[in-house]
């Protein structure tokens, strides 16, 4: 009798599993190699700071980086207070399993699933048209704020839930108000998790294209104010590869910049989450 490991079916399964993983790794290696090969040649300091020339075929992405950062700033400024407040309510004030909390969570779950293009439609109808903000950094940023809100709330709520109950009881037993306990103890204790969630939200917002094409628009000049249209980096990549013949090289270079930024942000998020986990282990 042959041993189990050498039976044909067993070997076939082993080969299939390794092949699946190998195929996935190979395709992604191929893609990343292409990105680096096609993009690295164009990367330089002047590419990062110069304005685009000849519809983006030449020149750099300076104004586009500025617009991207402004859109992100608006999105975070709008989403952070709302998200933090909601998460604190869910984690600290809502009764476990209360109907109101369940409804809020369900609404956020559904919101998290709304496709980004639909956020684009909504943002266009509400911010650009109804509120009269037009195609502007403000419209785009507010649209992204709606999109990242569920992510922000979910991670903040998880961070707060992980804060040991001992500290809440300790604060209450000292006659501290709940506001003081939150401000001095609970929020600082959850801070690494909160920032990790924030980083995730920023990463998601920075990668977004579809929600921005009819809210913040395409204008690739340096924006003068938040009411100007500004082109985000992801929109720039789309524009160069779809609508500008001969824009591929700069599209790849921009993609490389975008991925590098996202890697830094994701790395920071992972680092913060890890430190936070590490601290929990020390204290409990």
């Amino acid at each position: 009798m042959r041993s189990a490991a050498t039976r044909p079916a067993e070997r076939l399964f082993t080969v299939a599993v390794w092949a699946a993983a190998g195929a996935v790794a190979a395709v992604f290696a191929w893609m990343l190699a292409d990105l680096v090969a096609a993009g690295a040649a164009r990367l330089s300091w002047s590419f990062l700071v110069d304005a685009p020339a000849s519809a983006g075929r030449a020149g750099g992405i300076g104004p586009i980086l500025v617009s991207t950062l402004l859109i992100l700033a608006v999105a975070i400024a709008a989403a952070l207070p709302l998200g933090l407040g909601t998460a604190v309510w869910l984690a600290e004030f809502a009764r476990r399993g209360s109907r109101a909390a369940r409804r809020v969570r369900l609404a956020l779950d559904v919101l998290a699933g709304v496709p980004s293009i639909v956020f684009g439609l909504f943002g266009n109808a509400l911010f650009s048209v109804w509120l009269g903000l037009g195609f502007s950094i403000l419209s785009g940023g507010l649209t992204l704020a709606c999109m990242v809100l569920p992510i922000l709330i979910r991670s903040t709520e998880m961070g707060l839930a992980a804060v040991p109950e001992d500290w809440r009881r300790g604060a209450a037993a000292l006659g501290l108000s709940r506001a003081a306990a939150l401000w001095h103890v609970i929020l600082p204790a959850a801070a690494p998790a909160l920032s990790a969630g924030l980083m995730l939200g920023i990463g998601r917002a920075m990668a977004e294209t579809a929600a921005l094409i009819f809210t913040s628009g395409y204008v690739d000049r340096l924006p003068g104010s938040l009411m100007d249209s500004g082109r985000a980096l992801a929109v720039h990549i789309y524009e160069l590869s779809m609508n500008v013949t001969g824009g591929d090289a700069n599209a790849y270079a921009s993609a490389l910049v975008l991925i590098a930024l996202l890697l830094v942000i994701n790395g920071l998020a992972a680092l913060l989450a890890e430190r936070w986990l590490g601290r929990r282990i020390v204290t409990s």
């Binding site: 009764r95 500290w167 300790g170 209450a172 037993a173 006659g175 001095h184 204790a189 204290t283």
Partner: protein, 278 residues
């Protein structure tokens, strides 16, 4: 020495200055106290007077409602969803459960120490400074004086004076528990509730905290839950024995600890303190 409790097993605090120490005069009056979680009673019909300046030990097997009883005294039970408390607790004659009562002020007067040391993840100094500031002590030098006094009071000052801005979580378990006691003391409470304060500590640290509790008695009324009968016998002036009947905790016997341990009136108490049950 009229007025002080007989049989006090230690030298009472500031007797020289003439301050009242352990006196058989109620500081907390508890009448017919019942506690339920989600309609399920855990403690029923408890009535006793906690004497001023004394150490009162709550003993009895696990799960008979001692911790719930303790939490009801400073209304920490308010924080537990579905927990209902019925009965009367009077602090110096004022009803603790009155709707008008400012629970924050109440908890300032009645401090609490938990089983597991729970210093905040802040510096040693901020652990004491923040509650003071929140309770309206505006002057910085006053806060610093009170922090030093509290840390000296728990015998921690010499150990931490050089590193007041180091994280409190870096202290050892026994030091953390003493810091928590200092954090309660800095608010100058009249009453200290202690929920098995030594059970998470090693024997040496436990002895240090026990000695500290003895020193605090007199100036503070102390109510302590303990599973360590030897400890209760060593430090308590009064003892209350809780027992569970039909899933509900009840107070079986309350009295001077020497009586309760050496000549219990109730057979359940006798069985428990002699180690025959529980």
């Amino acid at each position: 020495m009229t007025g002080t409790a007989p049989c006090a097993p230690y030298t009472l605090g500031d007797l020289a200055e003439g301050t009242p120490c352990c006196v058989p005069q109620p500081h907390l009056e508890i009448r017919d106290l019942s506690i339920a979680y989600g309609g399920q009673p855990v403690l029923a019909g408890v009535g006793l007077d906690i004497p001023r300046g004394c150490i009162t030990a709550l003993i009895g097997p696990s799960g008979c409602g001692k911790t719930s009883f303790l939490s009801a005294l400073n209304r920490l039970t308010d924080l537990i969803p579905g927990c209902t408390v019925r009965g009367i607790v009077r602090l110096d004659g004022g009803d603790v459960f009155d709707a008008q009562v400012d629970t924050l002020a109440l908890r300032r007067r009645i401090g609490m120490i938990f089983q597991r040391p729970n210093p905040f993840p802040l510096s040693i100094r901020r652990n004491l400074d923040m509650p003071l500031r929140e309770h309206g002590v505006r002057r910085r030098d006053e806060r610093e004086d009170r922090i030093e006094a509290a840390l000296r009071g728990v015998g921690l000052w010499d150990e931490v004076r050089e590193r007041l801005d180091a994280p409190a979580l870096g202290l050892s378990g026994g030091q953390q528990q003493r810091l928590c006691i200092a954090r309660a003391l800095v608010l100058q409470p009249e009453i200290l509730l202690m929920d098995e304060p030594c059970s998470a500590l090693d024997p040496l640290a436990s002895a240090v905290v026990e000695e500290l509790i003895l020193r605090l008695a007199g100036r503070h009324t102390i109510v302590i839950v303990t599973h360590n009968l030897a400890q209760a016998r060593r430090i308590a002036n009064y003892a209350a024995f809780f027992w569970m009947t039909e899933q509900v905790g009840k107070l079986v016997e309350f009295g001077q600890s020497r009586t309760l341990f050496d000549a219990p009136k109730h057979s359940l108490t006798a069985a428990y303190v002699s180690g025959r049950s529980g």
